[in-house]
């Protein structure tokens, strides 16, 4: 038997998992409308590949991955794209994000699905396939899975950890997935194994899910794999990737390192399942299993299309009348979902809340430094110290006390006798630090650009001065040359001198004037010849716009392109600028 390790801290809240375990996974009916946000994973926002009015098929890619750390998004069913617009996202901010709104046609018509034997493909193309199938970490972090499937070049891959711990209270979607579809989960793990080539594969499941453990063991045996299915002690947050890695391998991954640097990688069971469906069935991630529980009459797990509106989904569970809100995720790390947001890939659980289920919090008291939070912290931080600094907005100090090692699991807030919302302070501090870094970057860019601009202006001035000096020198030379014959003439015929002197400049001036006139004429001709080609067949609106612009230009005292203009553009508006200054209140 494998030796298990312990992680420090953690808590044991009531699990509340039984209500939603009573019935098998059911397929949720087609909703009347699907709202598919384009940004559903960590990384770049996919670009929309469709336009409003397009007909899409089930599984058709509607958002292409933007860069390597990004993941594609697909139409969950066949229908018509109504709009590509900003829609409220499943995010604690309640802010909108670019989403594709699809009206299902009810036919649920698939695109052509092509199963592939991934063993015959290069690992590179398997990773690309996973990216284009939208496979992301379904444990909640939605990190693009393909980007995690490259082993470190220097560190040998020792363990692949598969996370079926599901430590948060209420959530049972992974439990039921393992019970009912263990075979496909194990096959999916096989794909990950073949890409990463670890020495061992460890599947960690909390010991409060004996059925899941048994099902997985059977599946592993049936498929002749050598994966180890291990029941780990039930303690929140045993399902945190870093905690599970610690429990199964004894390795501790700090915030500053990637787990592959320590020769270990971790995936969720549901991710393995979707990876198998994507590769072996050609089905991209368009649905997921979601636990609907809490204050509802019929708690159970549903296989739901991504993009299903929250309201339509919760109606399936028949929420009780005193329901006053819905949590997405578990009660430890979840957040209140905006009521018109859609379900996304990160949605593993929806909990209907009520005042009895989640009573209002008692008032916050001052910290008495009892150290309970430090005892509960699975990352062995000193949350109360972080709290002092975050509260005082002393962000430098929070970083010294390792705020970015905080995984926001909520254990500290859970045990705090003063009921201080510690996690919220940490999130506040983290987002402030990020904002400051952004600002600093922007300020640095602005500074370099400003300095370059000053440098450029100096350079231009210098160049101009040089040019002027050259021109002056040339003129002086010309004058000298002119002066010579004049002097000779003067020497030859003194009597004619006044006439000659008068004639010379006049001739020169006339010639200059003629040259200028000729140049202007040439310029005019050129301009006329180079009339914009796109001005034929203008719509009345465009013609009106052009007329308006021309009118404004005249008003501002600037010549329109059609009129001859001899002055340099940059100098032209000097007068109008002053004029408009007057017009300003």
């Amino acid at each position: 038997m494998l030796q298990l390790f312990k992680f420090r801290g953690g808590v044991k809240p009531q699990t509340n998992k039984t209500p939603s375990l009573g019935e098998p996974i059911a397929v949720a009916p087609l909703p009347t409308r699907l709202i598919v946000p384009l940004h559903q994973s960590i990384g770049g926002t996919p670009d929309p590949l469709i336009a409003p009015g397009d007909r899409v098929l089930k599984g058709q890619r509607i958002g292409g991955a933007d860069g390597w750390i990004s993941s594609a998004v697909h139409a969950p069913t066949s229908g018509t794209v109504l709009a590509v617009e900003e829609h409220v996202a499943a995010h604690p901010s309640g802010l909108p994000t670019l989403s594709v709104i699809i009206e299902p046609d009810g036919r649920d018509e698939w695109i052509a699905r092509t199963p592939v034997d991934y063993r015959s493909l290069a690992p590179e193309s398997v990773r690309e396939m996973l990216r284009d199938a939208g496979v992301v970490g379904l444990g909640g972090a939605v990190f693009p899975s393909h980007a995690k499937l490259t082993a470190s070049k220097t560190v040998p891959m020792e363990e692949l950890v598969i996370n079926g711990a599901e430590c948060e209270p209420f959530i049972t979607c992974d439990d039921l997935l393992m019970r009912e579809r263990a075979d496909e989960v194990v096959r999916g793990i096989g794909i990950f194994r073949d890409l990463l080539r670890p020495q061992r594969v460890l599947i960690g499941i909390e010991d409060n899910k004996p059925e899941a453990v048994a099902a997985m063991k059977t599946a592993v045996q049936a498929l002749g794999e050598n994966f180890e299915v291990i029941a780990v002690p039930t303690r929140y947050p045993a399902g945190g990737a870093k905690q599970l890695i610690r429990v199964l391998t004894g390795k501790e991954v700090p915030a500053a390192k990637r787990s592959t640097d320590l020769g270990v990688q971790c995936f969720n069971v549901a991710t393995a399942y979707t990876a198998w469906r994507a590769i072996a069935h050609g089905e991209p991630v368009i649905s997921r299993i979601v636990t609907l529980t809490g204050n509802v009459e019929r708690p159970r797990n549903w296989e739901v299309l991504i993009g299903t509106p929250l309201a339509e989904f919760v109606a399936l569970g028949q929420p009780k009348p005193d329901t006053n809100g819905y949590l997405m995720g578990g009660p430890m790390m979840g957040f209140e979902m905006p009521s018109d947001a859609p379900l996304v890939k990160a949605t593993n659980c929806i909990i209907a809340g009520s005042p009895t289920l989640f009573p209002p919090k008692a008032p916050e008291m001052p910290c008495i430094r009892c150290g309970e939070c430090a005892k509960a912290c699975p990352h062995e931080l000193q949350p109360f110290e972080l709290y002092w600094f975050a509260r005082a907005k002393n962000f430098g100090k929070t970083q010294e006390y390792h705020i970015f090692d905080c995984i926001e699991c909520g254990c500290c807030s859970y045990v705090c006798p003063s009921r201080i919302p510690l996690v919220q302070y940490f999130r506040f501090a983290k987002s402030e630090i990020w904002a400051r870094e952004r600002e600093k970057k922007a300020a640095d860019t602005a500074k370099t650009r400003f300095e370059f601009r000053n440098f450029r202006e100096e350079r231009e001035k210098a160049e101009k001065a040089e040019r002027l000096a050259k021109a002056a020198a040339a003129k002086a030379a010309e004058k000298k040359a002119e002066a010579k014959p004049a002097a000779e003439a003067a020497a030859g015929a003194l009597a004619d001198a006044p006439a000659a002197q008068a004639a010379a400049p006049t001739d020169a001036e006339a010639a200059k004037k003629a040259a200028i006139a000729a140049a202007m004429e040439r310029a005019r001709q050129q301009r006329e010849a180079a009339q914009p080609k796109n001005t034929e067949a203008l719509t009345p609106v465009q013609q009106r716009d052009i007329a308006e612009v021309d009118a404004r230009r005249r008003q501002a005292g600037i010549e329109t392109p059609g009129e001859p203009s001899g002055t340099a553009d940059a100098n032209a508006p000097a007068a109008p600028a002053a004029g408009s200054e007057e017009a300003r209140p």
Binding site: R8, V11, P13, Q14, P169, K242, R246, E252, V253, P254, A255, K257, N324, G325, L327, P331, M332, M333, G334, F335, E336, G353, S354, P355, L357, F358, P360, K361, A362, P363, M365, P366, C367, I368, R369, C370, G371, E372, A374, P378, H379, E380, L381, Q382, F384, E385, Y401, H402, D405, G410, S413, Y414, V415, C416, P417, S418, R419, P421, V423, Q424
Partner: protein, 339 residues
């Protein structure tokens, strides 16, 4: 539903519960104390509690804080009880009130109230009173006088002459005085043999009060309210220096057991150095805090001018808390072995 912030599940914990358990843990010691001195202890506890609640309410009002929330947290009661238990049992009522007022008003609220005081309020009260009223603070009742409750009440209320009834001395005092008077001709073991004063192993009666605190303290540890580090450190510090000196010269220095069970040692070990607000917070820091407090307490009680040294030792260590905490930050997950 309060949706502002996760987690939405909270453990059933509160400051009030913590404080209540501390009060409960004091009960065995109090019971022994009452058995030793009499029900006057209850009167003293009541006086201190009332004064503390009144002072707390006044300060909360002045500081514009919600009364109901903070008055019920029990922290003022803990301070009051500790003061009542560390002051001489028949101290006049006003002395107790002065101590409590100083603790709550100055040591607690002027520093920012609950959770903000750098010094242990009860120990501040003790230190202030022993400096200001040295005579009153060293008048301990002679045991076995058999004073009735009414007589004790009269003494506390200031209606009866104090001197006659209060010629007693604590065992610590007794040793110190004897050694001073004897100028080296007296040896400690023969002194300790006097069961009338020194009881079975530390001090007649007093040893059982200390044992009561030990019992309550162990219960607190079992409940997870206090960590083992601070009490263990304190006991280790006290035993270490007491044992070393006792081994070196048993005639001049009392044995460690005596020191452990006399004066405020046990109360200090489990109820004073474990105060989370004014104490260290890191595991290592807590042990160092306890250890240093134990050593200092011994030095002050044996070589200093005061009968007991726990209060001064704790106050001195309170100053060092930020420093100790800073240097004893534990390594975090994934960064062990890195410096």
């Amino acid at each position: 539903m309060d949706f502002t912030t996760p987690p939405y599940l909270l453990k059933n914990a509160s400051v009030q519960r913590v404080m209540l358990q501390v009060l409960l843990a004091l009960l065995p010691g109090i019971a022994a104390y009452v058995w030793l001195i009499g029900p006057i202890i209850f009167v003293q506890l009541a006086i201190a509690s009332l004064a503390a609640l009144a002072a707390e309410a006044l300060m909360l009002k002045l500081r514009d804080k919600p009364l109901g929330l903070f008055l019920g947290d029990g922290s003022a009661l803990v301070t009051a009880w500790l003061i009542a238990l560390t002051f001489p049992p028949m101290a006049p009522w006003w002395l107790l009130v002065v101590g409590v007022l100083f603790a709550i008003v100055v040591a607690k609220h002027l520093y920012g109230g609950l959770g903000q005081n750098p010094f242990n309020p009860a120990m501040v009260a003790f230190a202030v009173c022993i400096v200001s009223f040295p005579a009153l603070m060293s008048q301990w009742p002679a045991l076995g006088l058999g004073l009735s409750f009414n007589q004790q009440l009269d003494i506390v209320a200031g209606l009866a002459p104090r001197v006659d009834a209060l010629t007693g001395a604590t065992p610590l005092d007794a040793i110190k005085t004897a050694l001073k008077l004897g100028e080296g001709s007296i040896d400690v073991p023969s002194l300790l043999a006097n069961q009338n004063i020194f009881g079975n192993f530390a001090g007649r009666g007093w040893e059982w009060v200390a044992a009561g605190y030990l019992l309550g303290g162990l219960w607190l540890w079992k409940r997870g309210i206090v960590g083992w580090q601070a009490p263990a450190g304190f006991i280790a510090g006290l035993v270490l220096i007491a044992g070393a000196l006792w081994l070196w010269n048993p005639a001049q220095f009392a044995n460690p057991l005596f020191h452990l069970f006399s004066g405020g040692a046990m109360l200090g070990a489990f109820f004073i150095v474990t105060d989370p607000v004014s104490g260290c917070t890191t595991p290592k820091g807590k042990f160092i805090f306890g250890l240093a407090a134990g050593l200092l307490a011994y030095l002050i009680r044996v070589f200093g001018g005061y009968p007991d040294g726990v209060a001064f030792a704790v106050l001195l260590l309170n100053i060092c808390v930020p420093l100790i905490d800073m240097y004893t930050q534990p390594p975090i997950f994934g960064m062990k072995g890195e410096k």
